[in-house]
């Protein structure tokens, strides 16, 4: 299938890219990884008049960890994360898990985290992980760059806080305390499939061994990835135990509002949401040496 014709503009700096987007507005799409956009164009479902290619913009190719955050630039690839030197650090185990199951190993060579967040597919992997890790997305608009918390960034199916003519520059995953670990459990029919259901969790333990901070989010459980506040509140302040984890799982199952489709029935997906939250919490805690 051959896409509809379009004009191609290669931007060498963020300013250049931003100028093009401001000029063409809704008629332009950003081309970073293109691994969701190009297939949609081949089916002629997406037919932008202008593509702004940002792959040549060096300062967007950022993958940097420091004390307070992991910064992922707009054209940092999934596979770059998979191979990053810090990826085996317990703090980034949620990010590591996701980087290994998003799309397939070849698509990950071009696919980007920021692109996936901007695409905001209801069954996206990075969107659920960003919620659990309480990430922030840097969005450049007419009046400069603003940092949008992920909860506000994900608006609805395939819709985000990036307005017409605006551009996402990168995403920051806050580096939580050292006793922090995460996990991402995804059930997919085969490699490369969208999630049938998936759970992203990240927990930080306090000095006394109780859960100081908890992030729990689900993919393929609503119009877009969804935070399970009830589960987070159940976990917060508690000492990790099978009962607490089970309660968090049940909260997730209740919160899940999936669609029935070829991947599974509503009943199956709702149950699976709870099962995966339990398994993900257990794995995250075991990564912190806590068996619950």
């Amino acid at each position: 299938m051959i896409p509809a014709a379009f004009n191609y503009l290669r931007a060498h700096t963020s300013d250049e890219a931003f100028a093009h987007l401001q000029q063409y507005g809704a008629e332009a799409r950003v081309l970073a990884g293109g691994q969701s956009l190009i297939p949609a164009m081949r089916f002629r479902l997406a037919r932008p008049a202008v593509l702004v290619d940002i792959n040549a913009i060096r300062d967007l190719n950022v993958l940097r960890v420091n004390d307070h955050a992991l910064t992922v630039g707009a054209i940092a690839r999934d596979s770059d994360i998979e191979r990053a030197p810090w990826i085996n650090d317990t703090r980034w185990t949620l990010i590591r898990d996701v980087s290994r199951v998003v799309a397939d190993p070849v698509v990950r060579q071009l696919g980007t985290v920021v692109g996936s967040l901007c695409h905001n597919d209801p069954a996206g992997d990075w969107t659920a992980a960003a919620l659990a890790a309480r990430a922030e997305v840097a969005v450049r608009g007419k009046d400069g760059v603003r940092h949008v918390p992920i909860d506000e960034f994900l608006v609805g199916s395939f819709t985000t806080a990036v307005g017409e003519g605006e551009m996402a520059l990168g995403v920051h995953f806050p580096a939580a305390g050292d006793r922090t670990a995460g996990a991402y459990h995804k059930v997919e029919r085969k490699v490369g499939d969208f999630a049938t259901a998936a759970a992203a969790v990240q927990v930080s333990l306090g000095a006394d061994g109780t859960i100081r901070e908890a992030g729990v989010a689900l993919s393929a459980a609503g119009p877009c990835a969804v935070r399970v506040k009830e589960a987070e509140e159940i976990l917060k302040g508690q000492r990790p135990s099978a009962e607490v984890i089970r309660a968090a799982g049940d909260a997730a199952s209740r919160r899940s509002e999936p669609q029935g489709d070829l991947r599974g029935s509503v009943e199956y997906k709702k149950n699976l949401a709870g099962v995966l939250v339990v398994r993900a919490l257990r794995q995250a805690l075991s990564r912190l040496g806590v068996q619950a």
């Binding site: 051959i2 014709a5 002629r44 599974g264």
Partner: protein, 781 residues
């Protein structure tokens, strides 16, 4: 050329001769062909499954830059090409829709343009005004004839045919009086072979007015004859070439509308035309597989001795009956449904119906419905074992056709050539460690874990087939070979087959090498070109080794007889004093006095005395019977109760395909077939919703297993040669796809049997398994 004495090359794991060009990216597939002035064809397809065509407006399309022409069903009808006869001749198929569309994605118009992009733009600009009609989305609704789908046919009904075989009354009485009985509806879902290379062609009329037709065809000669009959172009003016083909699995047997449109376009416009379908077009409009709803009944004594089998099938053939079965076999070889078992009485019947779905039915490594038959009996045997409380392996062994009963006349009319079912099953049980597995299973079940062991001890029927029974469009299903040996002992063999990855360029050379004591490295194999290859019926249904393999061996023996005369002259003895032994001609009783075939070949051109010069022969082989490969497959699975995921922990395939030409190639065929069986059992279905929408139109929803999902395969063999085949070979390509689905499903149902689950239809998705576990829990808790 190597000089060492060939010690025979049958059974040698020779590296494949055709690989170097593929490894270097120098394979030659249809889409690689580019001719000067070539146009691209893109087809407009219907989003509606059943609708009248009020009007087709091509005005906008013709204005799209690069578009050269647009043709519709009416144009083809005017040229007498509106309809195409289907392969087994009882029905016909629209090329482009005329008056109405009958399945979603049916071809409606053909757009010809200078570039791929322009063709796609043109297709999008064609305006078709549809008036939707009520949809018939399953054969059971079709059966009621409330909506007649094909008013063009004389018989005003959706019922296509009734077929039956076996003794109806004897079976009915035997069933009625059987102490034990089971009855189950077993559905083999609609799936699709999805070869990695989509179908396509390039059509050109050359300066001599000859049609040069490059096409992904598994049967180029049959295409040439069919096209001559349909288009009226004389057969000498049609040159069909099947270049390298990127997988077929039966998908590249039918003649598709896109091919006819390309030919008509090339003729009308006077420029070459290339048509390459997209993956969506492949999955939604080309030959699907299966879709058999089988009501299976088996009777047995209390001790598990089989008394009778009855199978009544409702078949969904889609909008046109394009199932490419042999003429006398509308339900193909479904009569092999008695499988490996000695049924005293059996009766099988099939009723086929039209629906608003794509046409087809015969594809996907299926030997003409043998996959459906084998799945039905192997699934039903497990249900019977469950009913009798018997071990599934024991019930099979108890009812196998005994080794000494061959050739075995089955209750449904086949004569099985040979088999040693007990030995094959014995090898499987031993190698898998069956007793240890049973012990492990018992322990696991005590802990509430779900572990399953599943068998499939199948017999299939391939190598279609004897001319007294088998023809396609009237052409008998023989196959042929032409062998020519050059002065230096090298040679060429040409056959009417067409490999799509099965390794003929190596295995055919090995047969010639074995028969003539020549080095297969220097025997070239050529197939797929109708100007040079002898007439053959093509490669599908595991028929190439059984039929063409026979033709090659017998053509080689004719060459040998000719060579014997020259050898006799060289050895200065009478012809009768020369014998062929240890790959050379020897004087009887004086083995030291001998000449090699290489030497004889040179003499055939340089010193043949009164004999006819040259060394070549051909053979058209009409097989006396089909061949009956068999096997014993065992699957071991573990099920995750919470996610419904089935993990195939082990899978052992013990195959008996008679004499093996190249073990490397046979193992490759088995790995590939098992992977397809695995995919069908757990992942693959072409689903239509009640509004006639195809829900699996691309690889995001029609799931092909990757290297991660595909289990590791364990293989082994027993060898029971076919008595009537020249080298005892039976063919193996289809066995793994025929035999493995039942082993997977039997293992999963075995794992779930403690919960009272008796049968689940494929594909066994996580959702389906999870809901079966949950439903059972509701019952038991």
């Amino acid at each position: 050329m190597s000089d060492e004495k060939p010690a025979g090359c049958l059974g040698k794991a020779m590296k494949r001769k055709e690989d170097p060009r593929f490894l270097r990216g120098k394979g030659h597939y249809v889409d690689d062909i580019r001719l000067p002035g070539m146009l691209y064809l893109s087809l407009v397809r219907s989003p509606y499954p059943h609708a009248e065509i009020k009007s087709i407006d091509i005005g906008d399309a013709m204005k799209v830059s690069g578009v050269v022409a647009v043709i519709t069903g009416k144009d083809l009808e005017a040229a007498g090409l509106g309809w195409l006869p289907t392969f087994h001749g009882y029905d016909k198929q629209m090329v482009l829709a005329i008056g109405k569309v009958l399945f979603q994605y049916q071809e409606v118009a053909a757009v010809f343009a200078e570039t791929r992009g322009a063709a796609a733009d043109g297709a999008e600009a064609v305006q078709v005004d549809y008036a939707p009609l009520p949809v018939v989305a399953d054969p059971f609704t079709s059966k009621t004839d409330q909506i007649i789908l094909r008013p063009d046919r004389d018989a005003k009904t959706n019922h296509i045919y009734h077929w039956e075989v076996g003794d109806k009354d004897k079976t009915a009485t035997a069933l009625a009086s059987s102490p034990k009985k089971i009855k189950e509806r077993i559905w083999f879902q609609r799936c699709h072979p999805a070869p990695l290379e989509p179908c396509g062609c390039v059509a050109e009329f050359d300066a001599m007015g000859r049609l040069q037709f490059y096409v992904t065809s598994q049967a180029p000669h049959v295409y040439r004859t069919a096209l001559a009959l349909v288009t009226g172009i004389p057969e000498d003016k049609i040159h069909v070439v099947s270049p390298d083909i990127g997988g077929g699995f039966g998908n590249k047997v039918p003649v598709y509308p896109g091919y006819v449109c390309a030919i008509v376009g090339a003729l009308k416009i006077g420029r070459p035309v290339k048509w390459i379908e997209t993956r969506t077009e492949n999955l939604t409009s080309t030959g699907f597989a299966r879709d058999y709803h089988m009501d299976v009944e088996i009777g047995a004594t209390a001790e598990g001795r089989l008394t009778a089998l009855h199978v009544a099938t409702t078949a969904d053939h889609g909008a046109f009956d394009a199932a490419a079965d042999p003429t006398k076999y509308p339900a193909g070889m479904f009569g092999v449904v008695t499988g490996s078992y000695d049924f005293p009485a059996a009766h099988a019947e099939v009723d086929a119906y039209f629906t608003n779905k794509a046409p087809g039915g015969i594809a996907y490594r299926c030997s003409f419905r043998v996959t459906e038959a084998s799945y039905a009996i192997e699934r039903a045997m497990d249900i019977l074992a469950d009913e009798l409380g018997m071990d599934a392996a024991e019930l099979r062994r108890k009812n196998f056709v005994r080794k000494d009963k061959f050739p075995y006349p089955s209750a449904l009319g086949f004569t099985y050539d040979s088999g040693d079912y007990e030995k094959t099953l014995g090898v499987a049980l031993d190698k898998i460690g069956y007793q240890a597995l049973l012990k492990e299973q018992a322990e696991k079940r005590a802990r509430g874990e779900l572990m399953g062991i599943g068998f499939s001890t199948f017999t299939e029927v391939v190598g279609a087939g004897p001319s007294k029974h088998f023809d396609i469009l009237g052409i008998k299903m023989f196959d042929s070979a032409e062998i020519r040996i050059h002065p230096t002992g090298a040679g060429i063999v040409r056959t009417g087959t067409k490999s799509q990855g099965q390794g003929h360029e190596t295995t055919w050379a090995q047969i010639v090498g074995e028969e003539l004591g020549l080095d297969p490295q220097n025997i070239m194999v050529e197939e797929g070109d109708t100007d040079t290859a002898p007439y053959g019926l093509g490669t599908y249904a595991s028929r190439s080794t059984p039929v063409a393999g026979g033709a090659i061996a017998l053509a080689a023996r004719r060459v040998r007889e000719k060579a014997r005369k020259v050898a006799a002259h060289m050895l200065e003895v009478g012809e009768d004093d020369v014998e062929w032994k240890d790959y050379k001609f020897q004087v009887k009783g004086v083995p030291a006095k001998s000449v090699t075939m290489k030497e004889v070949a040179f003499a055939a051109y340089t010193n043949m005395a009164q004999n006819e010069p040259g060394l070549e022969a051909s053979y058209y082989y009409d097989p006396p019977n089909m061949t009956f490969p068999s096997g014993a497959y065992v699957a071991v699975v573990d099920i995750d109760r919470e996610t419904g995921e089935v993990k195939v922990r082990r899978f052992l395939a013990v195959d008996d395909c008679g004499t093996i030409i190249n073990p490397l190639v046979v193992e490759g065929q088995i790995h590939g077939g098992l992977t397809e069986g695995f995919a069908i059992a757990f992942m693959q279905e072409i689903q239509y919703d009640k509004d006639g929408n195809n829900l699996n139109t691309n690889f995001t929803d029609y799931l092909l297993p990757t290297s991660l999902e595909t289990p590791a395969w364990e293989t082994d063999k027993t060898v029971t040669p076919s008595p009537h085949h020249p080298i005892g070979a039976k063919g193996v390509g289809e066995s793994p796809n025929v035999g493995s689905p039942a082993a997977f499903v039997n293992a999963v149902v075995d794992a779930l049997s403690p919960l009272g689950v008796r049968h689940l239809d494929m594909p066994l998705t996580r959702d389906k398994v999870w809901r079966a576990i949950r439903a059972a829990q509701v019952v038991t808790t």
